[in-house]
């Protein structure tokens, strides 16, 4: 049901990027709808499949990726989802329910340790294994946020899923920075020199997220954010923040995420805006998942295939074990705790972005991590959203009406 683009006549390919873009914007929603109606899977699986097929049939993927403005647009889409996620994270909950904090440390810690173990076993070397382990902690916040909002999930498992996903993203970004710092030291720099970049990075990130939170907070006191026009202003603010992120070398992942969290904790008045900040944000989000699919390279998967499968299984075990360990003490039933672990499985966009930052710092190491990761991440791009959706509807957190509509 997903269109294979190789049937297109050769003369189309040389056309400019806007044609590719337009074609994707037509095909991706169709594929999303097909996947949703026929298989009852999340629509983003359809978007990602379109991306995968496009790259496999070497349909002008390179052209799209090279376009600077286009890439920035996608960063905005990701930032929008991260900001939405951040604004739903209620940090005082961790103080009220310390077992939830313990769950977060357990699932992220176990994922890190087990993945590091397998990386070491495969002979990746300590640096690459550490990086791989850090990247695998992440439960793609972008996928999790999108699936939860698409199916209208509400309840304990959903809230905890968002919380844990936000936290393990923070752990991973900070861990990658620290690893980069440590590797820098191994490459002959002294300790002070090695520590400077990650500290700068964190300081810049923090300052920018405060600035973004202040700006959005100021806007929402004066404008009704439920209105489409004001939502566009939010989109603009996030875009602006991302430009500053690039100039200052801060984290494009942490800035919107932390800004959302700061906003929520500074002002208790409910933060409500149109999903993904309205239609413009929504269109960007569709493209984000298409391009995520395109970024995967079939050749790497063949190379890292078996290792990828082992990695996936261990990571899945770590996530589920981590959530079940303190599940009952944190107030979940065992079935809910298991579902939470399964819902945490997605890994994709964020993992690739992190690998990219590794790659730019240490190309050789980045490549090796990417190879081991690619198989796993690629499989999870399809399986992850399905796992999250299954888990959330399995524990009764999706509306009944939607279930009925799906059957129709």
């Amino acid at each position: 049901m997903t269109p294979d683009l190789s049937f297109l006549p050769g003369w189309i390919t040389p056309l400019d990027t806007s044609f590719a873009l337009a074609l994707l914007l037509v095909i991706a929603p169709l594929a999303g709808e097909a996947v949703f109606r026929l298989l009852r899977w999340p629509r983003i699986v359809g978007y990602t499949l379109v991306g995968l097929f496009a790259s496999a049939s070497s349909f002008d993927g390179a052209g799209l990726e090279l376009s600077e403005g286009f890439r920035h647009g996608l960063e905005v889409a990701m930032a929008v989802l991260l900001f939405e996620l951040g604004s739903r994270v209620n940090l005082p909950w961790l103080r009220a329910n310390p077992w939830l904090a313990a769950t977060s440390v357990a699932e992220a810690g176990l994922s890190f340790s087990l993945v590091f173990g397998i990386g070491h076993y495969l002979g990746l070397g300590p640096g690459s294994s550490l990086a791989l382990a850090a990247v695998c902690m992440v439960s793609s916040p972008v996928v999790v946020m999108r699936v939860a909002s698409e199916i209208g999930a509400r309840g304990q498992v959903t809230e905890r899923l968002l919380m844990l996903s936000a936290l393990n993203t923070i752990y991973a970004v900070v861990a990658v920075q620290v690893i980069l710092g440590l590797l820098g030291q191994m490459h002959g720099n002294n300790a002070l020199e090695a520590l400077r970049p990650p500290l700068w990075f964190l300081l810049n990130t923090l300052l920018l997220s405060i600035a973004l939170a202040l700006a959005v907070g100021y806007a929402r006191r004066r404008l009704d954010l439920a209105n489409e026009n004001s939502a566009l202003l939010l989109l603009g603010l996030i875009f602006l923040a991302l430009v500053l992120v690039r100039l200052s070398g801060a984290s494009p992942i942490l800035v919107p995420l932390l800004a959302g969290m700061l906003l929520r904790s500074r002002d208790p008045r409910p933060c409500l805006w149109p999903r993904h900040f309205g239609t413009a944000g929504g269109a960007l989000v569709v493209l984000l998942f298409v391009v995520n699919g395109m970024a995967a390279d079939w050749r790497l998967i063949v190379g890292g295939g078996l290792a990828g499968v082992a990695l996936l299984l261990l990571r899945a075990f770590a996530k589920v074990a981590g959530t079940v360990l303190f599940g009952r003490r944190s107030g979940l039933s065992t079935a809910q705790a298991t579902a939470l672990g399964v819902a945490l499985l997605p890994m994709s966009g964020t993992a690739f972005l992190l690998t990219a930052s590794l790659y730019s710092a240490f190309p050789a190491m980045g490549m090796r991590v990417a190879a081991a990761l690619a198989g796993a991440a690629m499989v999870m791009e399809i399986l992850g959203p399905i796992a999250t959706q299954w888990a959330l509807s399995h524990c009764g957190e999706t509306p009944e009406g939607k279930e009925a509509a799906r059957g129709a």
Binding site: R88, N90, N97, R154, G155, R269, G331
Partner: protein, 372 residues
């Protein structure tokens, strides 16, 4: 099933049930967390009566048998604090109010359990529309005939209690213009309204047997009357009140009902008649719609007055009985509210006028409920 016999209870003891809203702390819409909350409360060793309700975003707490206002208030406060501790662990909000301001009934989910599923099959969408929140007050009666006499004596004061407790002006995201829109959801049920006018328990048993034979009802639970006898407790149960925004007001309203009951039992100021019910539906509508500003027609004299003023008059008339029960200050405070036309519906409208965002209004309700 035959009607159970009327149990013994101490005269004028109180019991209070409150149906409460469970909301998300993100968007402050209702959230189906009742099973989670019950599980966590069990783990925390919560002592007290807490039950699920027809949809899974509602929860009901109940006091034991209380001697009077002070006892009821301390029991309610303990229940509230226990519930809040469970809610904190789940990061959900709990609040009072007779209706949720902007929930969509279609999104509600019927609780697990045979009775709820049966009600849902029987009543269809009405069951989900029944996601409204009331306060029920039980009054201990010396005997079954006395209970029926008290029931029909109290019924003319239902409008007073509706106006004092009203806290459901907003429904499905709109101001309904009603002070208590919650009761409109209840009137939709075929067995709602008032109890039949019979003054002896023998007659009531005959009525029940006839109804049971038709297969329309199986137990007293199937009657959704404004006041109904509860034979297994030996009480009558007043069911017209919206859940107030605070436990203080819930306890105060129970104190007023207790004083009213004492007045009716001790002084027997009038003999209830079937004709009292000629104006019943009119008076009740006026109270729901206009609150204190509604018209109240005296069923005995046919005189008309404004409900707010009638409440002030009534409280001063029963003041002696409130004083005997040690609740004159509490009842006077309610009369002052009526004089100043203050109730929870008004509070909600005032808040919404300052900040029109309804989720913010629900957040304010949660803060109000948690106020020590």
């Amino acid at each position: 099933m035959a009607l159970e016999s009327f149990a013994h209870s101490r005269c004028l003891t109180l019991g209070i049930e409150l149906e409460l809203q469970l909301v998300s702390t993100h968007d402050f819409d209702l959230v189906g967390s009742a099973p989670d909350l019950l599980r966590v409360l069990h783990q925390q060793g919560f002592v007290g009566d807490v039950k699920p309700e027809i949809t899974n975003s509602m929860i009901e707490i109940a006091t034991g048998i209380c001697d009077g206002h002070a006892d009821a208030l301390s029991q309610l406060t303990a229940l509230r604090d226990g519930l809040l501790e469970g809610a904190r662990q789940l990061d959900i909000g709990i609040c009072g109010g007779g209706s949720h301001a902007f929930q969509h009934w279609g999104e509600r989910r019927i609780s697990d359990g045979a009775r709820y599923q049966h009600l849902s099959d029987l009543y269809g969408y009405l069951a989900k529309q029944f996601t409204v929140f009331g306060q029920h007050v039980h009054i201990g009666c010396p005997g079954s005939d006395e209970a029926l006499l008290l029931l029909h004596g109290l019924s003319r004061y239902m409008p007073h209690l509706i106006a004092l407790s009203a806290s459901s002006p907003f429904v499905q995201g709109r101001d309904t213009g009603f002070d208590s829109a919650r009761l409109n959801s209840i009137f939709a049920f075929p067995l709602s309204g008032r109890a039949p006018f019979v003054l002896s328990w023998e007659d009531f048993k005959r009525y029940f047997a006839k109804m049971a034979r038709t297969g329309v009802v199986e137990s007293m639970k199937d009657f959704y009357w404004d006041i109904r006898p509860k034979p297994e407790y030996g009480t009558i149960e007043v069911r017209v009140l919206d859940t107030p925004l605070t436990v203080e007001r819930a306890a105060a309203l129970a104190a007023l009902i207790q004083a009213l009951a004492r007045w009716l039992i001790v002084e027997k100021p009038f003999r209830p008649t079937e004709d009292d019910y000629l104006v019943y539906a009119f008076n009740r509508f006026q109270a729901c719609r206009f609150g204190y500003g509604g018209v109240w027609v005296d069923p005995s004299s046919g005189e008309r007055g404004m409900l707010g003023d009638e409440i002030v008059r009534l409280v001063s008339r029963i003041g002696h009985h409130a004083a005997e029960l040690g609740t004159d200050a509490i009842c006077t405070r309610l009369a002052n509210d009526a004089g100043a036309r203050r109730n929870d519906a008004q509070w909600l409208r005032d808040r919404q006028a300052t900040d029109p965002l309804l989720p913010e209004l629900v957040r304010q309700q949660c803060l109000r409920w948690a106020e020590p």
